[in-house]
C-alpha cells in the first residue's frame, strides 16, 4: 500500500513537471540544425531499443504486478521522450516552410525555367523536410507502439488481478499437518537468522545499537515533550468539562492521535535509519526490521485513533456517540484487526524472503481472513446505543447488515479456498472503512463549524474577531462558507482516494476531472465547472473592487473635498450600480457564456419585458433621474402627496421616507418624478410659520399689534431678516383676528417656536387685560341617569382609582419630561 502511494506520488510529480521539461528540452535542441536529423534519429533509435527491451521484460514479468507498474511508468516516460525529440524539429520545419514559401512553387510546364540555384535550394529544402517528416513519423509510430504496450500492461494487470481473486486453492493440502512442520521449519530458520544477527550485533556492534536506540529515543522524546508543551492546551481532554464543543473534541482527538503517532514514527524511523547508518543490519534483517517498524507504527496509530475517537474513559469527549462499554469493545476489536493484518503483513514479508512453501502462505492468509471476518461480525453484533427506556440499540440496519455480509463473505470465501479474494476483501474493508470513518468525522466537524456561533469560538474565528472588524453575523456566515468548503474538500479528497483503493487508475480519475473541469457538452451548450466557478469568482472580485472603490471615493476623496452629501450619495450610488453591472458582465463572459447570444435573447424578450416590467423600468429610470437631478437629498423634509417626512434612502427603484410618526414609507420613484414634491429644506432650511390669535371686539388693536410684534421680535430663534410681521387678517364673527408671521432659520424648529410664542401671548394678554374670546357653543341638556344609592365602598374604590390615575399621570409626565429634554419635537 505504501509503495503504491509512493508510486502514485512519483507519477503525479512526473505529470506535473512534464510540461516544463518539454519546453526546456525543446529550446535546447532547437539550436542545432546541421546534425539535427541524425541526432534525433539516434535518440529515437535508442528509445526504440529500450522499448524492445521493455516488451521482452513484460513477457518475463507477466506475473509480477509491481514490476508491470514500473515498466508502465518507464514506458510513459519513453513516450514523452519520443515526443520531445520530435519537438526539436519545430523551428527547423518552420524555417524550411517559410523559405519554401519565399521561393514560390516550381514553374509549371509552360512557364520559363527558373535559375538553377533556386531549384537547387528548393530541392534541398524539400528533401530535408522529407527526412524530418520521416524521423517524426518514426517517433509517432514509436509512441503509438508504446501506447499499445501500456494498454497491454493494463490488460495484463487486470487479468492478473482477476486471477488473484478467482484462483481457488485446495485447502485440504494447505491445512494438512504438513503445514505445522513447515511452519516449525520456517520459524527455526527465522529464529536462526535473527539470533545469529543478534549475537553478531551484540558482539561487534553493541555500542552502535545502544547509541542508535538512545538517539532515536531522544528524538522521539523531544518531539513528544515539545509537542505537549506547544499543544498541551488542546492536547489533553479535560475530564471536568461537562459538555466540550464538538470542535474542541475534534482537536483533542486530532492532536492526541497525531503527536504520539508522530513520536513513535520518528522513533521507529530513526532507529532503522541509525541502524543502517552504523551498518548494524545485515542480510534480510533490514527488511524484517522495516516491516516490523511499519506494523508497529500502523497498529499504534490505529489504536490511538480509535481511542481518541471513542474515548472509552471520557464519555463527554467521544467523537462518535456510542455508549461506554461498546466503545471499549470497539477499540479492542479495531486494534485486534490492525494487529492481525499487521502480523499477516509481517509474516508475508518473512515468507517472501525465506522462500517458504505455498501452503504456508495460504494457511497464514486463511487464518488472517477468518479472524478479520469474525471481528467484522462481532462488530456488527455490538449494540452500541442506548434507547430512552434503557434498552440497548444495535447499529443502523444498513451498517449492521453490510458488516455482517462482508464478514460472512470473507469467511465463506476463505473456507471455499478463494484466499486471494478473501484477503482482498478484508484489506479493502479495513482501508476503505478507515477512509470512510475519517471522512465521516470530517463531515461531522464541518457540520459543527457550520452551526450558529461555532465558528466564532474557533481559534481562527477568535483571531479574526480580534484582528478585523467582522461582526458576529459575518463570522457566522464565514463559518457556513468554511463548513461548505470542508464538505467539498472531503468529497474531492476522499472520493479519488477510495476510487484508487478500488483499483481505478489515476489516469482515469484525471481524465474525468479534466472532462468535468473543461466542460460537458449538452447540445451546443458547454457547461464547465471551472468556467462557472471562475465567472462567480470574477464577479465577486469585481463586486468587492467596486465596494472598495466606492468606499475610497466616498470616504477619502469626496469627504475631504467637502462635497455636498446629496452629491456624494448620488455619485456613490451611481458608481456602485455601474461597478456591479460591469462585474456581472465580466463575470458572465468569464463563465464562458457568449454575450452575443444573450443579446439575441434580450432583443427577443425586450418587447415582452417592456410591457411586463413597465412600472419597474419607469421607476428605475425615475431613480436615475432623481440621482442626476437631485430635487431632494437624504435628510430633507419633503411632502409628496399625503406623505410628509424625512428622506432616509434614495435607491434606484424606490425612495424611503420616514414620517414624523416614524413610519417608513417606500415611495416608488415614478411618483416622485411625475407628481409635485414639496421640499421644505431644498436650498436652505429657512421657513415661515404662522400663528393665529383672536382678540375680543373692543380691545385696543394698536396695542395688540404692538404686543404681538414685540413677542415675535423677542424670540431668539426668530430671524431679524426677513422681519417678523403681524397681520391684522380678519374681522371675524367672534373676534378680531391677527396672524403672527415669523421666519425661522431652521423650519424644523417650528413647533418649539410656536409653543413659546403662544405661551408668551397668553401671558402678556392677561397682563395687559386683553381678552381672547372663545366661541360660545349651544348647551345641550342631557338626561342624567339616576344616581347610584350611596355606597361607601364604591366611593372609596372610586377615590382610590382616581388617586392611582393621578399618580400615573404624574409619573408619565416626569418620564416624558426626562425623555423630551434631548430631542426637539417634530414639525407636523
Amino acid at each position: 500500500m505504501l509503495f503504491r502511494l509512493l508510486r502514485l506520488i512519483l507519477l503525479l510529480t512526473l505529470v506535473v513537471s512534464a510540461p516544463l521539461s518539454f519546453d526546456a528540452a525543446a529550446q535546447g535542441l532547437g539550436q542545432a540544425p546541421a546534425g539535427l536529423v541524425a541526432d534525433q534519429q539516434k535518440i529515437i533509435q535508442a528509445l526504440t531499443a529500450k522499448t524492445d527491451n521493455f516488451e521482452k521484460q513484460i513477457q518475463q514479468d507477466a506475473e509480477e504486478d509491481s514490476s508491470l507498474v514500473d515498466i508502465r511508468l518507464q514506458l510513459e516516460e519513453l513516450s514523452r521522450q519520443s515526443l520531445t525529440s520530435a519537438l526539436a524539429f519545430r523551428t527547423r520545419l518552420g524555417e524550411i516552410n517559410s523559405r519554401l514559401e519565399q521561393l514560390g512553387p516550381a514553374p509549371a510546364a509552360g512557364q520559363p525555367p527558373e535559375p538553377d540555384i533556386v531549384s537547387g535550394e528548393r530541392q534541398a529544402l524539400v528533401s530535408e523536410k522529407a527526412e524530418i517528416n520521416a524521423v517524426i513519423s518514426q517517433a509517432q509510430s514509436l509512441s503509438i507502439r508504446i501506447s499499445g504496450l501500456i494498454d497491454k500492461i493494463g490488460n495484463m494487470r487486470s487479468e492478473l488481478f482477476r486471477n488473484v481473486l478467482t484462483k481457488r486453492y485446495v485447502l485440504s493440502d494447505a491445512l494438512s499437518p504438513q503445514v505445522f512442520s513447515d511452519a516449525r521449519d520456517e520459524f527455526s530458520n527465522f529464529y536462526k537468522a535473527v539470533s545469529s544477527w543478534l549475537s553478531f550485533a551484540f558482539k561487534f556492534k553493541f555500542q552502535a545499537i545502544l547509541a542508535a536506540t538512545f538517539v532515536a529515543l531522544g528524538l522521539a522524546l523531544v518531539l513528544l515533550v515539545g509537542g505537549r508543551r506547544l499543544f498541551g492546551r488542546v492536547f489533553e481532554a479535560d475530564p471536568a468539562n461537562e459538555d466540550p464543543s464538538y470542535l474542541s473534541r475534534l482537536s483533542v482527538a486530532f492532536w492526541s492521535t497525531l503527536l504520539p503517532t508522530l513520536a513513535v514514527g520518528v522513533f521507529l524511523a530513526s532507529t532503522v535509519f541509525f541502524f543502517n547508518y552504523y551498518n548494524v543490519l545485515r542480510g534480510d534483517i533490514g527488511l524484517f526490521l522495516n516491516a516490523l517498524a511499519a506494523v508497529i507504527g500502523v497498529v499504534f496509530c490505529v489504536n490511538r485513533l480509535t481511542n481518541a475517537a471513542l474515548e472509552p474513559r471520557l464519555p463527554n469527549w467521544r467523537l462518535i456517540p456510542v455508549e461506554t462499554g461498546p466503545a471499549r469493545w470497539l477499540v479492542r476489536l479495531t486494534t485486534a484487526m490492525a494487529v492481525v493484518i499487521g502480523i499477516n503483513y509481517f509474516l508475508s514479508v518473512i515468507n517472501d524472503k525465506m522462500g517458504s512453501p505455498l501452503s504456508l502462505t495460504i494457511a497464514r492468509s486463511f487464518g488472517a481472513t477468518i479472524i478479520v471476518g469474525v471481528i467484522l461480525i462481532l462488530m456488527a453484533m455490538l449494540r452500541p446505543f442506548k434507547a430512552r427506556d434503557g434498552s440497548w440499540r444495535p447499529w443502523p440496519a444498513w451498517l449492521r447488515y453490510t458488516a455482517f455480509a462482508l464478514g460472512l463473505f470473507t469467511i465463506i470465501a476463505a473456507l471455499l479456498g478463494y484466499i486471494g479474494l478473501a484477503l482482498f476483501v478484508s484489506l479493502q474493508v479495513v482501508v476503505t472503512g478507515t477512509v470512510l470513518i475519517t471522512a465521516y468525522i470530517g463531515f461531522l466537524s464541518a457540520q459543527a463549524i457550520g452551526e450558529e456561533g461555532a465558528f466564532a469560538n474557533t481559534t481562527v474565528g477568535r483571531w479574526l474577531s480580534s484582528n478585523s472588524s467582522y461582526e458576529d453575523t459575518a463570522l457566522d456566515q464565514l463559518g457556513l462558507v468554511v463548513s461548505v468548503a470542508i464538505n467539498v474538500m472531503i468529497v474531492l479528497v476522499f472520493l479519488p482516494l477510495i476510487l484508487l483503493m478500488w483499483g481505478f487508475q489515476p489516469g482515469d480519475i484525471q481524465a474525468w476531472a479534466y472532462k468535468l473541469a473543461t466542460g460537458i457538452n449538452i447540445g451546443s451548450v458547454t457547461i464547465s465547472v471551472t468556467g462557472i466557478l471562475s465567472g462567480i469568482v470574477v464577479f465577486i472580485i469585481g463586486y468587492f473592487l467596486t465596494r472598495w472603490f466606492q468606499g475610497w471615493l466616498d470616504g477619502s476623496v469626496m469627504a475631504r473635498g467637502k462635497v455636498d452629501t446629496g452629491v456624494r450619495n448620488s455619485i456613490r450610488l451611481a458608481v456602485g450600480y455601474a461597478g456591479v453591472a460591469l462585474a456581472a458582465l465580466v463575470g458572465i463572459s468569464a463563465a464562458g457564456i457568449d454575450l452575443s447570444s444573450l443579446a439575441l435573447v434580450a432583443g427577443a424578450l425586450s418587447l415582452g419585458i417592456g410591457f411586463g416590467l413597465q412600472n419597474v423600468v419607469s421607476n428605475f429610470v425615475s431613480g436615475l433621474i432623481l440621482l442626476a437631478e437631485r430635487p431632494f437629498k437624504v435628510g430633507d423634509w419633503i411632502v409628496a402627496g399625503d406623505v410628509s417626512g424625512t428622506v432616509k434612502k434614495i435607491s434606484v427603484r424606490a425612495t424611503e421616507i420616514e414620517t414624523f410618526q416614524r413610519q417608513s414609507v417606500i415611495l416608488p420613484n415614478s411618483n416622485l418624478i411625475n407628481n409635485a414634491v414639496g421640499n421644505w429644506t431644498h436650498r436652505n432650511k429657512l421657513g415661515r410659520i404662522d400663528i393665529k390669535v383672536g382678540v375680543a371686539y373692543g380691545s385696543d388693536v394698536k396695542q395688540v399689534h404692538a404686543v404681538l410684534l414685540e413677542i415675535a421680535r423677542g424670540h431668539p430663534m426668530v430671524l431679524k431678516n426677513p422681519e417678523p410681521f403681524v397681520l391684522f387678517s380678519n374681522f371675524g364673527p367672534a373676534a378680531l383676528e391677527f396672524e403672527i408671521r415669523v421666519f425661522l432659520a431652521d423650519v424644523m424648529n417650528g413647533n418649539i417656536v410656536q409653543n413659546d410664542i403662544r405661551f408668551a401671548v397668553l401671558e402678556r394678554f392677561s397682563g395687559e387685560h386683553i381678552e381672547i374670546p372663545s366661541t360660545p357653543r349651544a348647551v345641550v341638556e342631557a338626561h342624567k341617569p339616576k344616581a347610584w344609592p350611596t355606597d361607601d365602598d364604591k366611593i372609596e374604590a372610586d377615590f382610590a382609582e382616581q388617586e392611582q390615575i393621578k399618580a400615573e399621570a404624574e409619573a408619565e409626565k416626569k418620564r416624558l419630561a426626562k425623555s423630551r429634554k434631548t430631542k426637539k419635537p417634530d414639525p407636523d
Binding site: 517528416n133 517517433a139 509512441s143 501506447s147 471551472t530 471562475s534 469568482v537
Partner: protein, 103 residues
C-alpha cells in the same frame, strides 16, 4: 451599506479583503493552468488535422471559423500540407489559407 463605516475601520476591513482576494486569484491561476492545445480554422472551408494521441489516429475536422481544444497531454498532428508535428499540449494551431502555423 458596509461602506458607511468609519474611515479607519473600513480601511482595515478592505485590507483584509485584499489579502483574501490575492489568495483567491492565486488559487484561480493554479486551477486555470490546466491547458490543452487549441486549433483555430480561419478559413471558410473545412480543414482536417490528423491527430495521433494515446495510440490512435483520429481525423479532426474543423469547420470554417471553428476553434477546437484537443490533445491535453501531448500528441502528433499531421497538418493539412502533409507536415507532421509534435505538440506538447499548450500550443495553438492556426489554419489560414490552407496553411497551418503553430504558435
Amino acid at each position: 451599506m458596509p461602506c458607511e463605516m468609519q474611515q479607519r475601520r473600513w480601511e482595515h476591513r478592505y485590507c483584509n479583503m485584499w489579502k483574501s482576494l490575492v489568495a483567491a486569484v492565486a488559487l484561480i491561476a493554479a486551477i486555470g493552468s490546466v491547458h490543452a492545445a487549441s486549433a483555430v480554422n480561419k478559413d471558410a472551408e473545412t480543414r482536417t488535422l490528423v491527430v495521433t494521441e494515446g495510440g490512435s489516429k483520429t481525423d479532426l475536422a474543423l469547420a470554417g471559423g471553428e476553434t477546437v481544444e484537443f490533445c491535453p497531454n501531448g500528441c502528433f498532428v499531421t497538418l493539412p500540407n502533409g507536415d507532421l508535428e509534435a505538440l506538447t499540449g499548450s500550443e495553438t494551431v492556426e489554419i489560414s489559407g490552407g496553411v497551418a502555423r503553430i504558435k
